[in-house]
Amino acid sequence: MSEFGPSPLPPARVLVAKSSLDGHWRGVAVVARALREAGFEVILGGMLRPSEMASVAAAEDVDLVGINVGGRVEVVERALDEMEAAGLGDVPVFVGGTVPPQAVPRLTERGVGVFPPGSSLAAIVEEARRLTGRDSPAQRL
């Protein structure tokens, strides 16, 4: 295979979880399925506290964390802080859900992509591939 470029990476592992306690699962289920169909290994975390977000991400050795937000941005920021404190600062994070528009810059400034309701699934999958280095066709095999 090497003559055709880099050898394919194993499927990337993504933790998909909710940071808030609101329970709405429609968006999570749709995104999780799209990622799975695109070849990702999806770990569904349910509703995780910020500290759990970090401990589950570490235990599952994930390459990416997708957080569904049904609450305020401070709670997402706490999850990012917890991940950094746990030595997971290099694991990329993206979020979706009802993020107040005025709070979006607070996340994007920390390198976190924001996908509000109505975002295209193709765009979410593409971003997940980019964040996990699976964006060249060879690596996608």
Binding site: S19, S20, L21, D22, G23, H24, W25, R26, V28, A29, V30, A32, R33, A34, L44, G46, M47, R49, P50, S51, G71, R72, E74, V75, R78, T98, V99, P100, P101, Q102, A103, P116, P117, G118, S120, L121, A122
Partner: protein, 543 residues
């Protein structure tokens, strides 16, 4: 070339033109009965909105009890609402957690964002101060079965402390199964079998003491906005009713015929599939009347009357270009009324980003007031009646609704399909289909996947309430005050008694909940009793 076959969201094929042959025979017969007569296809009341316009019934609530009280007074005394709904903080209230629970502490900034946060009965006194409880129609909260037994007794206890007898109180509970056993599962909750016992206790309690109170209200809305299609919503609502009625009959304390009317206040969703959903409301009334007549042999027409509350689909409200949602809200509201609803809540135009801002909330009221005052909508009963198209949809939904009902019954009934994941799977399948349709553009949403522009002129700010964790900090103070200043032994004893009652399902549990809240037991202490007694329900599929 094969012509594209258009269909409704729930999958009913659409023809270009409808005619007399498209109206099923039993619908034609039902059309002959005027509004206010069984099977109520044409409306619940004889003179419909001429006697009484639909109730403007908006969800509202955030922050501390003081914030909630101020909002309720504004809505009642200034904005012109005719009933109050107290929206509770979903993290603490749905879960019955105190604000110092670890699940809450790590998310403290979220507290108060989805509704008002209470620590115990004292907060209900604040929420309800200066409100005329003997003359208003109220929905005090308790959307979720395990929280209703805290919320309703709290509201009722405030009233009795003010010397208002229970029989004077008018309002509705909810205790709906579709919300947390299907649409938005909580992190922890008692199993449906325990929850339904509380619902039956509420039904029996109210039928003995509270003639003006609807004890529980099935919320098809939650089933639909989780993903069930229109006919699935109908079938599931009927299966839920059968579950209640069969169990009440088995208990043998309350006569089913007397009870049927009290659970006939049902909540439906109207989405942007407006014709189908208006037809759904008409079909729902007929199905309800037929169910009670045929399955339970109830001949009294009044007992077979369904009254409908509609909430317009929150999921139809887009994050992008939120002002477009005012148009969507208006359309959904109009068709809710054309379907004959008795009360209506219009989702805020900022629904996809936050709970309603003051402005969004007032717009939802204004939409309804414009419909009530400016377009002669109140003068005519059932203006859609006799439309070949609408009657065809009504008949089709009824038939498909009963088929879905039969599938549920074949699987063991309503509780069984919550537990085995069948309803969740149906919802997920529909949601995937909708997502694929949006992705491909086949399902067009203006400003989202078609006619999009990138112009800040269409942007709004989301409502955020108090900054940081201020609401939580204030609630923490109230909780510590409560624990310090209450009669400690009284609370302990009331909680011990509550636990005993919970373990003994031959007694009605409501008095024990009334005693516990009156003894200043906190919401979390009551929750702990339930968690220890009943354990935790496992969500049947991983979503």
């Amino acid at each position: 070339m094969i012509e594209h076959q258009p269909e409704t969201t729930s999958g009913i094929p659409l023809k270009l033109l409808y005619g007399p042959d498209d109206v099923p025979r039993d619908i034609r017969e039902a059309l002959g009965a005027p509004p206010g007569r069984a099977p109520y296809l044409r409306g619940a009341y004889p003179r419909m909105y001429r006697d009484r316009p639909w109730r403007i019934f908006q969800l509202s609530g955030y922050g501390n009890p003081e914030d909630m009280n101020e909002r309720l007074k504004f809505l009642l005394f200034e904005a012109g609402e005719t009933g109050i709904i107290i929206k509770h903080d979903r993290m603490t209230d749905d879960h019955l957690y105190d604000v110092d629970h670890p699940e809450i502490v790590e998310r403290r900034e979220d507290v108060g964002l989805t509704g008002t946060v209470t620590v115990g009965l004292r907060d209900y006194e604040t929420i309800l101060s200066d409100l005329p409880l003997d003359s208003i129609y109220a929905k005090p909260g308790g959307g979720v079965p395990q929280s209703a037994v805290y919320t309703l007794p709290s509201y009722w206890s405030v009233a009795t402390r003010r010397g208002i007898p229970l029989e004077k109180l008018a309002g509705t509970g909810q205790s709906d199964f579709f919300l947390t056993y299907l649409g938005c599962p909580t992190k922890e909750q008692i199993p449906p079998e325990a929850a339904i016992r509380f619902n039956l206790d509420l039904i029996e309690w109210c039928s003995e003491r509270m003639p003006r109170w609807v004890p529980v209200s099935i919320a098809g809305y939650n089933a639909a906005d989780s993903g069930l299609s229109a006919h699935q919503e109908l079938g599931a609502v009927m299966a839920n009713a059968v579950q209640y009625l069969d169990m009440i009959a088995a208990r043998g304390k309350v006569d089913v015929e007397r009870l049927a009317h009290r659970i006939g206040g049902v909540n439906f969703r109207v989405s942007m599939e407006v014709f189908e959903d208006a037809a759904k409301l008409r079909a729902a009334r007929k199905m309800w009347s037929d169910l009670l007549g045929q399955r339970y042999g109830i001949t009294d027409e009044k007992a077979r009357q369904m009254r409908i509350h509609v909430v317009t689909a929150g999921s139809a409200m887009t994050y992008q270009e939120p002002f477009n949602n005012i148009v969507r809200g208006t359309l959904m509201a109009l068709f809710s009324v054309l379907g004959g609803t008795q009360s209506l809540g219009v989702s805020g135009y900022d629904e996809a980003m936050s709970i309603p801002s003051d402005h969004a909330h007032l717009m939802s009221i204004r939409i309804q007031q414009i419909l009530q005052n400016e377009i002669n909508l109140r003068e005519i009963a059932d203006p859609l009646g006799g439309s070949y198209y609408v009657e065809s949809l009504t008949g089709e939904l009824e038939q498909r609704g009963w088929e879905f009902f039969d599938r549920i019954q074949d699987r063991g009934g309503f509780l069984a399909v919550l537990d085995d994941g069948f309803l969740l799977e149906c919802a997920e399948e529909n949601n995937q289909r909708i997502a694929v349709g949006m992705e491909s553009g086949e399902r067009a949403i203006v400003g989202v996947n078609t006619h999009t522009i990138d112009d800040p002129i269409m942007e709004v700010e989301a409502f955020e309430g108090r900054s940081g964790a201020e609401t939580w900090e204030m609630a923490m103070e109230r909780l510590s005050d409560l624990r310090r200043t209450r009669h400690g032994r009284g609370a302990v004893e009331a909680l011990r008694n509550l636990e005993e009652v919970c373990r003994n399902d031959s007694v009605n549990a409501i008095p024990a909940f009334m005693e516990a809240v009156s003894a200043d037991a906190s919401i979390g202490e009551i929750g702990s009793v339930l968690r220890e007694t009943f354990g935790d329900w496992q969500v049947p599929i991983s979503v």
